[in-house]
């Protein structure tokens, strides 16, 4: 074994730039997907708690389906199969955008939204029923009680699991390399195949993923200190 490490390859120059552009795509993919996941998750959670049975069933099916199939399959599904099930206009729009990126966003969003919906639902269920009673006693309708009193509390409680989902999402986004999204993992792979310095390339990617994770975890701690503690009162 006389492999010579060459860290300079990943800390400067062309290959460094590749990795940085990969990092940028990873962040963009994660941020866009988590934002959309939250919105979709909120809607699905509301549907899951609806008084209308078919709506509830639909949401239930959605949750079970997307939580229990591998993400990679879902990514391939949207990438290879979307033109068969999505309306023509949507597909044309996707192609005009960055098709791979859009397919990855759709897959990650739908997959993650299923988890987030469950987090939101358990957030709502953990709000004591007396809160609803207090709101209704003031004269708020059920829907407005949800909107002004229950959901704001539930969402605050959901932020930590949500940040956790963001962490998962960020890591899961590396699967997007399989459909050619030029995110961090994809770029590391590129560096490897151009330089045969696989160890350096993947170490660099690992370090960056770790850094991102720590950043996100730090966010969580900060949120807990600044927002949750005053409410809970410790």
């Amino acid at each position: 074994m006389n492999y010579r490490f060459d860290w300079a390859i990943v800390t400067s120059g062309k290959y460094f730039d590749w990795l940085v552009s990969g990092l940028y795509v990873t962040i963009k993919l994660s941020v866009v997907s988590i934002a959309l996941s939250f919105l979709v998750g909120l809607v699905i959670a509301m549907m899951r708690m609806s008084h209308v049975r078919p709506v509830r069933w639909f949401a239930h099916g959605y949750l079970e389906f997307f939580r229990n199939t591998p993400l990679l399959v879902q990514i391939f599904f949207w990438y290879f199969g979307s033109y068969k099930i999505l309306p023509r206009v949507v597909n044309d729009w996707m192609v005009r955008q960055d098709f791979e990126f859009t397919a990855a966003v759709i897959a990650l969003t739908i997959y993650t939204s299923a988890f987030i919906a469950e987090d939101i639902r358990s957030g709502v269920r953990s709000i004591p029923k007396e809160q609803m009673e207090a709101a209704r006693s003031s004269g708020f309708s059920y829907v407005r009680s949800m909107r002004y009193i229950i959901l704001p509390q539930a969402v605050r409680l959901t932020i930590p699991p949500l940040i956790n989902q963001f962490l998962n999402l960020m890591k899961n986004s590396s699967l997007a390399m399989t459909i050619g999204v030029a995110e961090l993992m994809y770029q590391a792979r590129q560096v490897e195949s151009y330089t045969f310095k696989g160890f350096e390339a993947f170490t660099a990617a690992t370090v960056v993923y770790l850094g991102l994770s720590f950043l996100i975890t730090g966010l969580m701690t900060l949120y807990d200190k600044m927002v949750l503690q005053p409410i809970k009162g410790h």
């Binding site: 006693s137 003031s138 004269g139 708020f140 809970k232």
Partner: protein
Amino acid sequence: MIRFEGVHKWFGKLHVLNGINLHVRAGEVVVVCGPSGSGKSTLIRTINELEPIDEGKLFVDGTELSDPKMNINRLRAEIGFVFQQFNLYPHLSVLKNITLAPIKIRNTPPKEAGEQATALLERVGLVDKRDAYPSQLSGGQQQRVAIARGLAMKPKIMLFDEPTSALDPEMIGEVLQVMKDLALSGMTMIVVTHEMGFAREVAHRVIFMDNGTILEEAPPEEFFINPRHERAKQFLKQILSPMH
């Protein structure tokens, strides 16, 4: 203001309200007492339909609750409800706890609602806490905020379900004082409580419940000195004994 006519309610097989007849006039202060499980909470919770009744008639502020044309949200806005456990909104500051309903339901401009809330906080002695969160307040303070929250809607009726029984003894007085002031201001009040001092001082009538029925109904002097039923005598003895 409030009239029960032969009201019944069941929880499954349990007959919680068994033929309640009661008339509370505007400006009256009525204290409800009785042993645990006798149906006191259920009784006052039917008034704003937190618990719907199964039989009989219940009129509140001129409308019958079972009337299909009745708008329950509009009626509830006229009735303040104070819970044993306060139930303040933990994610909102004291001020916002008080102004939320006036702003969203009465469409009071936020500035005006804020001024009214401040005035109410002055009344309950908590102006300096307007920006605090409920978790930063003691039980007694939270309950006074809860009363201010109820009053912010300018209700015609205030209902209290054991407002002091979750409080440490040293905080009971401050909450009772606020309630006494309110009673003397002419508010229509129904108060479930075992605070007999409060009943003696400001109640116009005391109601004794047992097993879902109103067993006794009398002015406080009469009820305390000369209760007619054996159950009421026992109850009073228990409640007034220093060991309690």
